[in-house]
């Protein structure tokens, strides 16, 4: 039983890391109705910039600020050169644009910073917390706990921001209806630049945590796509949904990885490892059949 909880808690904590990436998708989707395929690439780019600045001798805090500036500039540039030209285009066109953007970043970032795999040290070690180990005999990583705490704080902050501030309301308004937002004087350009900057910030935090755990490398782009099932479960438009979806995906994939292979092997023989890799996507698929808008997503309101 102890082992079960250890797996469960480990899964939940790593799930929070997915939530963090999912959050970036949610932000941009909420504010502009665009599914930003480039979010994964942004995580990669942010982490790479962070490491790059640190390699040039900047301390972590300074590198973090500089990387944030880079991501903000990137957000503004995206708005100015891509989104602004595409107001009132169908969503699929915008989606295609973000795919293009994603590949651009994947190619451009290594050009800027070099393409070898790098370690990122943010002063946190991935070791069990002694107190828990002594009293409960469970291995819970310090790193995971810190990462989860950070992610939760960020999510809570953003949820409040969306719900109660003037800008947050404007963001939701823009998501609902570009044109109407424009008609009441909400400047779309500023709002979009802002939301891309915030998404860049989230990508930076995610990149920092993922990068220090797995190393900063191209594969980050794909790790980030693990956020897709999270989004499908939680709903594309919901900040709390991103967190709950992340928890569910994280926990279930770890549990599935541990408990399903022995059963399967018992039935069919052979090796069933690596379930972790695809199990979340199967869950997402099943979920889509039952509740396509996700747990917390906005229902599409149609008047008949």
């Amino acid at each position: 039983m102890q082992f079960f909880f250890e797996v469960l808690i480990g899964g939940l904590l790593s799930g929070v890391m997915y939530s963090l990436v999912a959050l970036g998708f949610v932000l941009i989707f909420k504010a502009s109705g665009v599914f930003n395929f480039a979010q994964g690439a942004m995580v990669f780019f942010a982490a790479l910039s962070l490491v790059g600045f640190m390699e040039h001798g900047a301390p972590l805090w300074l590198a973090f600020i500089l990387a944030f500036v880079v991501m903000t500039l990137f957000g503004i540039a995206t708005e100015k050169f891509v989104l602004r030209k595409m107001v009132n285009q169908p969503p699929i066109a915008l989606f295609m644009a973000t795919i293009g953007l994603s590949f651009f970043i994947d190619g451009f970032a290594p050009l800027l910073w070099g393409n070898e795999v790098r370690a990122l040290d943010i002063g946190l070690v991935d070791e069990p917390i002694p107190w828990i180990l002594d009293n409960w005999n469970m291995v819970i990583s310090k790193f995971d706990l810190f990462a989860a705490g950070l992610a939760l704080a960020l999510v809570a902050l953003l949820a409040l921001f969306f719900q109660y501030t003037r800008i947050g309301r404007a963001l939701r308004a823009v998501a609902d209806d570009h044109q109407a937002a424009l008609s009441i004087g909400i400047p779309l350009q500023h709002i979009w630049a802002l939301v891309w900057a915030v998404a860049g910030f989230v990508a930076l935090v995610a990149g920092m945590l993922w990068g220090s755990r797995n190393g900063v490398q191209f594969a980050l782009t794909f790790t980030a796509l693990k956020a897709l099932p999270v989004l499908i479960l939680g709903g594309f438009t919901s900040v709390p949904g991103a967190i709950v979806g992340g928890l569910i995906i994280g926990a279930s994939e770890k549990l599935a990885e541990i408990y399903i292979p022995p059963v399967m092997a018992g039935w069919f023989g052979g090796n069933f490892g690596g379930i972790e890799g695809w199990f979340p996507y199967v869950m997402a698929l099943l979920f889509l059949l039952v509740r396509p808008e996700g747990l917390f997503g906005e229902k599409h309101i149609d008047r008949v």
Binding site: V87, A170, A175, A181, S183, I184, P187
Partner: protein, 267 residues
């Protein structure tokens, strides 16, 4: 001349090729309700969007003429600047933010206003005073309210920006006659008590001319007729083509005389 809103001979082209307005001129005096009438595709909405500068987001462009508001040229401004300057458009088909509550919808309207919490609350109360129904529905998602309530939300939202002038596009669309009447009463109220000027695009000629002071009739991107509202209402041609009435009762469209007159009218 010191006019309030004046449009001088504007031409609007969409997508660089489609000529929609072919030299439209009109004036809205301060504190008046002016109706812009005409059939589908006559250019009413385009005229309003030219003023509010929403046109550019749809690849439309004012290529000739100019638009002046309080003696300032405004045809190259952004919608944001127009709203700050006191001119706001309420778009055709309401366009409420479906997933925001009615109250949140209203609050977004104040985006351009640097208001304190107390001022914001006062503005809300003012809107609720004109639209008591919205107060009851304040916490429902706007997408689930009725068409009339959505139209009220859209107008209320515009009011939150403290406008001097509202460009109201087809407020009667898809609403029951009784609700249309209710909304026009409120428009008149706002005009008299808040001194908001209105430029009103309507297909419902009958209602619009009852509430407006002055009217313009657009056909195919041109102004074909203009006059005091009561003059237009008693004009034989208007009666026949827009109000569906004529001196000799309902007429058959086959009648040659009608056909000729219609042709002359559109030439």
């Amino acid at each position: 001349m010191g006019s309030y809103l004046s449009i001088n001979n504007i031409e609007v082209i969409y997508d660089h090729v489609i000529l929609v307005l072919k030299g439209v001129s009109l004036d809205v005096p301060q504190g008046k309700i002016v109706a812009l009438l005409g059939a589908n595709g006559a250019g009413k909405t385009t005229t309003l969007k030219a003023i509010s500068n929403l046109l550019r987001a749809e690849r439309g462009e004012v290529t000739k003429g100019d638009i002046q508001f309080k003696d300032r040229r405004v045809d190259q401004m952004t919608p944001n600047e127009m709203v700050k300057g006191g001119v706001i458009q309420v778009m055709e088909g309401r366009h409420c933010f479906a997933h925001l509550t009615v109250e949140e919808n209203l609050l977004t309207g104040a985006y351009t206003q640097a208001q304190s919490r107390a001022e914001l609350k006062a503005s809300l109360e003012k809107v609720y005073q004109y639209f008591p129904r919205l107060k009851q529905r304040r916490s429902s998602q706007a997408g689930y309210t009725s068409g009339g309530e959505q139209q009220m939300t859209a107008i209320g939202r515009a009011l939150m920006a403290n406008p001097e002038m509202i460009l109201l596009d087809e407020p009667s669309m898809g609403l029951a006659p009784q609700i249309v009447e209710e909304i026009f009463e409120i428009v008149r109220d706002l005009n008299q008590r808040e001194k908001v000027s209105f430029l009103l695009a309507e297909q419902n000629t009958m209602v619009a001319l009852r509430y407006a002071d002055f009217g313009y009739i657009l056909e195919n991107g041109r102004v074909v007729m203009e006059g005091q509202a009561e003059d237009l209402r008693s004009n034989e041609d208007v009666k026949e083509f827009y109000l569906g009435l004529s001196s000799a009762g309902r007429k058959s469209f086959r009648e040659v005389k009608h056909y000729r007159r219609r042709k002359r009218w559109l030439a």
